[in-house]
């Protein structure tokens, strides 16, 4: 009985972890990057709303309390057309409206809206959370992670890894000892000139763009394909680009709704 309870606890922890957008550094790094592009006005309002949260007066606990479903659903043409209230995009649109008209809402509602906008922007940019109609691979599949080059390592010695988890966690954990602001600096160096190109559009445009990014990575992908170290380096470049997109877009959205 005790073991069953422990198992239940572990499964609960696992569920919480899997609902995280990126690994430990991904979320704070994206926020740190976004802050560089926020207007002083938006930065001030952003700080004020976070401070309303007495329990967590900073962005430490950014996950919305009513997060029920962490998926971005796109149709076969990569358009976000859903009105399902649990969808990441729909939740973001509603939260953005709360922040835009924040004087009409309670402190608690403002905090929740801020958490939703911030957290869901990251969910929107995480491959593991995007589901494309008709594309079975977006429901999840396993790959074989090679410790060397694909041709040099015996398949039986490769580690089985969920492709989505590779993006949510493994890629970001490669830079051991990096802090969020260090990673934000990397994004600024590598994508410092892409602000306008990356932040243009609406939340649904960004969802469509992420669908295109995901589709490109899934071209030629199949279950049990080998991901070697060189492939991981390629993935890392893509991951940095989508983190930069998330950061620029978060800043653009907050600059707009916190005017």
């Amino acid at each position: 009985m005790a073991m069953k309870r422990f198992l239940l606890l572990l499964v609960s922890v696992a569920t919480i972890l899997s609902a995280q957008a990126w690994s430990g550094i991904g979320n704070p790094a994206t926020r740190a990057f976004a802050k560089q592009f926020m207007t002083p006005e938006a930065r001030k309002e952003n700080a004020r709303i976070w401070k309303l949260n007495k329990k967590y007066p900073a962005e430490k606990s950014d996950k919305p309390t009513d997060l029920r479903w962490n998926k971005v659903t796109l149709d076969a043409d990569l358009r976000s057309t859903t009105t399902y209230e649990g969808d990441v995009v729909v939740q973001m649109e509603r939260a953005a409206e709360v922040l835009r008209n924040r004087k009409n809402y309670s402190e608690k509602e403002q905090i929740e809206a801020m958490r939703t906008v911030t957290y869901n922007m990251i969910l929107l940019h995480t491959f593991g959370n995007i589901s494309i109609e008709g594309n079975e691979l977006t429901n999840g599949f396993f790959v074989l992670l090679s410790s060397g080059a694909a041709a040099d390592v015996n398949a039986s010695k490769m580690r089985k890894y969920k492709w989505q988890t590779l993006w949510n966690r493994a890629i970001l954990l490669r830079h051991y000892g990096f802090t969020a602001d260090m990673y934000a600096e990397e994004l600024a160096i590598s994508h410092g000139n892409n602000k306008d190109a990356f932040s243009a559009g609406t939340i649904r445009d960004w969802a469509a763009d992420m669908g295109a990014e995901l589709s490109k990575q899934l071209e030629g992908a199949k279950p049990n394909m080998v991901v070697d170290r060189l492939k991981m380096l390629e993935y890392e470049t893509v991951n940095d680009r989508i983190m930069a997109k998330a950061g620029y877009r978060l800043a653009a959205l907050l600059n707009d709704v916190l005017k």
């Binding site: 073991m3 069953k4 422990f6 198992l7 572990l10 499964v11 696992a14 410790s147 060397g148 080059a149 041709a151 040099d152 966690r169 954990l173 490669r174 830079h175 051991y176 000892g177 990096f178 802090t179 260090m182 600096e185 990397e186 160096i189 590598s190 070697d228 170290r229 060189l230 991981m232 380096l233």
Partner: protein
């Protein structure tokens, strides 16, 4: 029974997800400290060619060593010494030869004669090799008849770990628990310009000779087949000093090489 298996699998999944390697962390820390000591010119060139910091690419050579394209670089990570601390050339299979080669090729405006992709690869190689040549386990004494400098294993958390593996996988988390690259920079990047200049003086061959002499000591501090936590505290304290000094040497020398290459 099934329940137990699931439980074990879940626990393993958590442990493996959080596993960290010494090698990566220390390389990143060395790169990060070096990044802080680049001149404005060198920093601009770094951003232009690498599109990232040195810290970002500090472990790149380890990542590509397994590819056919970079297969020959597998032998450019370490330095071997004879009994008189002279580094062994071994037909170019050592880090020093390639640090010197790339540095000489790129300095005094030499980099301008190279294509961009060669410059990028050279910078990534230098970033890793200058760090690697200062790692205790990358200073090897295979040709030395002394039994004191032969590779051996110790016990780390009850598991047998060989000399090389110890330095590559567990050491930094033991000497400086939970330090980030910023922590390394805050705590170790404390030398005066005069002290830094003294460290950077000389050539890679001279740095290697110094390492060849100094890196014998760690072999005497770790006691074979003994649990790390049970080793004498003074040995661990001395080992920490050595690790810190090697990180400082690697970082300041790396910045020195990059600054020299892009000196106008």
């Amino acid at each position: 029974m099934k329940l137990r298996l699931v439980l074990v699998a879940l626990c393993l999944a958590f442990v493996s997800a959080e596993a960290m390697a010494w090698s990566g962390l220390t390389h990143n820390a060395i790169g990060h400290i070096a990044d802080q000591h680049l001149t404005p010119e060198a920093k601009a060139k770094r951003n232009h060619y690498l599109n990232h910091t040195l810290a970002y690419y500090a472990s790149w050579q380890d990542e590509v060593a397994w590819s056919k394209e970079y297969a020959e670089t597998r032998f450019w990570h370490a330095v071997r010494f004879d009994a008189k601390n002279r580094f062994q050339y071994r037909e170019g299979r050592n880090a020093i030869t390639h640090i010197s080669r790339i540095w000489n090729e790129m300095r005094n405006g030499g980099y301008k004669k190279l294509d961009d992709s060669t410059i990028v690869v050279n910078l990534k190689l230098l970033t890793h090799m200058v760090g690697d040549m200062h790692c205790p386990s990358h200073n090897m004494y295979d040709a030395d008849p002394s039994p004191k400098v032969k590779r051996f294993s110790i016990l780390y958390k009850g598991k047998k770990v060989y000399w090389h593996k110890f330095w590559d996988s567990s050491a930094s988390s033991y000497f400086h628990r939970k330090w980030t690259c910023r922590d390394y920079q805050k705590n170790l990047d404390v030398l005066t310009p005069k002290q830094i200049a003294k460290i950077c003086k000389g050539t890679p061959e001279q740095w290697a000779k110094q390492n060849g002499k100094d890196m014998r000591e760690p072999y005497t501090l770790l006691i074979p087949h003994t649990e790390l936590s049970e080793m004498p505290a003074e040995n661990i304290a001395r080992m920490t000093e050595i690790v810190d000094l090697q990180i400082q040497r690697g970082a300041y020398r790396l910045a020195h090489v990059i600054n020299d290459i892009f000196k106008e």
